[in-house]
Symmetry: C2
Amino acid sequence: MLDPKHIKSLKDLVGEENVFSDKAHMIAYSYDATRTRFEPDAVVFPRDEEDVSRILVYCNHHGIVITPRGAGSGFTGGALPTSGGIILAMEKHMNKILEIDMENMVAVVQPGVINMDLQKAAEEVGLFYPPDPASEEYSTLGGNVSENAGGMRAAKYGITKDYVMALRAVRPNGDIIRAGKRTIKDVAGYNVAGILIASEGTLAVLTELTLKLIPKPNFTKAYMGIFPSVDDAMNAVFKSLAAGANPVAMEFMDDLVVQALKEKLGIELPEDAGALLIGDVDGNVSEEVEFQLEILERSFKENGAQDFVIAHTAKERDKLWYARRNASPSITIFGSKKLNEDISVPRSMLPEALKRIYEIGDRYGFKVPCFGHAGDGNIHVNVMVDGSNEKQLEEGHKAIKEIFELVVEMGGTLSGEHGIGTSKAPFMDIAFNDAELTLFRDIKKAFDPNNILNPGKMGLPN
Amino acid sequence: MLDPKHIKSLKDLVGEENVFSDKAHMIAYSYDATRTRFEPDAVVFPRDEEDVSRILVYCNHHGIVITPRGAGSGFTGGALPTSGGIILAMEKHMNKILEIDMENMVAVVQPGVINMDLQKAAEEVGLFYPPDPASEEYSTLGGNVSENAGGMRAAKYGITKDYVMALRAVRPNGDIIRAGKRTIKDVAGYNVAGILIASEGTLAVLTELTLKLIPKPNFTKAYMGIFPSVDDAMNAVFKSLAAGANPVAMEFMDDLVVQALKEKLGIELPEDAGALLIGDVDGNVSEEVEFQLEILERSFKENGAQDFVIAHTAKERDKLWYARRNASPSITIFGSKKLNEDISVPRSMLPEALKRIYEIGDRYGFKVPCFGHAGDGNIHVNVMVDGSNEKQLEEGHKAIKEIFELVVEMGGTLSGEHGIGTSKAPFMDIAFNDAELTLFRDIKKAFDPNNILNPGKMGLPN
């Protein structure tokens, strides 16, 4: 519990109307998409960067823990106040698009801006902000940068880190720092922006982001490859890409997901589909789109595809994507609770990885429907259990651990896009050795010697 | 001077044949492209990562300074042993391409591999490694990563950092760390690879690099825009890019460079050219190449271009690029010594930046021929002085300082691609405030508490 004198001091710093410690607020800011709950002691809404600096100076001095928070839509607990203290919520005031610079094709935004709001603002002036996490309608850009959010378009366009040109942030001691420039090339000083991306709010508080925009391609078409088996589809993924295909997205759904979409939502999908690959291709000229579709069709068919479908109208395209977008909600037919993890492996390992993940599921007796961003090697693996059965939950977590061990052994990562937070913290020592974990702690200490920023996340000390 | 007992110990660690302290070696490893000289006390050629670790453990314990070195082709002194100690030279043993993984489109290399050797190896299997610093024929990939080297293709393809997927490195305490993965998405743990890129050998010693390769585009054409003035050309740069052009390169030469190319090398160039923009466009389909050329021609002509030339044959293309490649050697007609700096500004600031850079030159009475990578905002600015005239040299350095102040005021950076090293270290406080410089020192201390790795570089403590 925070001493009431601190609440009063924080109110003096940023205004009475921006500091709350009532029960309703504590409950409202206790959760994220992990559905676990930790109540903070106070919620503070900074009005600007100066407020952030003042709050950090105060909390650093008094050893008060701070958890920065965007929309609280994270899947791994990065925005949960697991050690109490205060939530620093960016959504109320620090939520403005400050500039769309069309001449240099960059946007300058505050961390509380919703991803989709930036996408729309860019599109209005003929530009394009590609990172599209599934949470794009409600997650904030500050959260996206802190977790280095991915999305479907990563296969061609990369992830959030590829779009961060510069940022402003506040260190726990209150120091305001700038990192990066509105230029493609900048090699002066350490790449501080690089280390703050994906640092999950443990090193500094982001206060402004300068993000790269690109010209919007003129032509887009959607495609679907229908495969007899997951193995065929997974081979087609890396072989088509190695053959020169560069699709915007290449999304995968396995036979269980196809079954769930049919049974639960009545979505029409090809008979006997053992796996699907769905995606978009784009280009400045229609010939580039055709070029991409030709490589994909040839490569898919060489790898066993039964059929290759091109969506020629917006309606056909929407139909293909409707299936993909409903993959996640549909699979609950296999169990009331899904233990979902987003693993990522080098693409050529996908066939073997999927085969062995299903074997793990079989051994435990769980269905493990898989779908996701195969084009960049990132798969959402869902171990389906009966959430009311303690024994099943325990066994499910054991299966997840085995999956992580497998993925790391194959040169993959614990998390392709969700981050580590608290959910994956227990698995850090699978992926990193003592020397690497020590380095993480050394970096943390250099930025935040009093450990006030989001302690205990990413496997770092509490 | 290094105590002879240390030389003996180092020989015990890595073999007699890999440690030298004779005068000839000390001279051979005393220089880089800055042409200043600092002799080390010893040169050590590690055979592998284990050797690197052993050497670092020993030197860290005994407080012996280490300067990692690739080819010594840097322009800012990053590889100069300014504090003596040992040179850790990667060229002899740690110079192998370990793997070209065609399935995942990555290369795994040791740091001593020459950039062009990787470009060629990739090309042989139909892949493409885009970063092309002017030193590509002799600079090493370890050096490229340490300085975050740029090049001509950055306008479309980005710079070295955009191609580093993973790396291995050794900390001063001997700890071997891995960072990153052979996957597009990886958000587990701090982005250690991100902070090691461009760290100029001050944080850890790179021992292995995993670099992204991409499919080689099928079609390339070169173009040249001829402009009456630098101002017109600089407007055309950012306006054509904002209009959707995405050229591989957009290289600039001003009227002085054009004059020098004609006078010194007899190169045929258009009469009355006040400035030139030269570059390539590429694509998977010829229509994309034509699309790009159309945007460029339209945009260039809207911004005052007298002519737009397309090279239709390899010979015509070579002729255009021959001029650009000889820009640097030709300009010595304006002074025996060039004080050359590679500034970078947001592209829309190029017209104003160039105008004011020439004004600074005029005020001091120096010619300042400029050329470079306008498409990414990076310009090589050359203050030409009489190298034998002390007074001129001193005035030239004053002009350079004014240019840096101007560039930073315009939102630009001290260095687009050459790094800071020792040459630009005195200007760090123009670009960074106390809080930022303090953070750099804190990061350095976290990685290298005894300050044995390349001390004194980047404005960090000696």
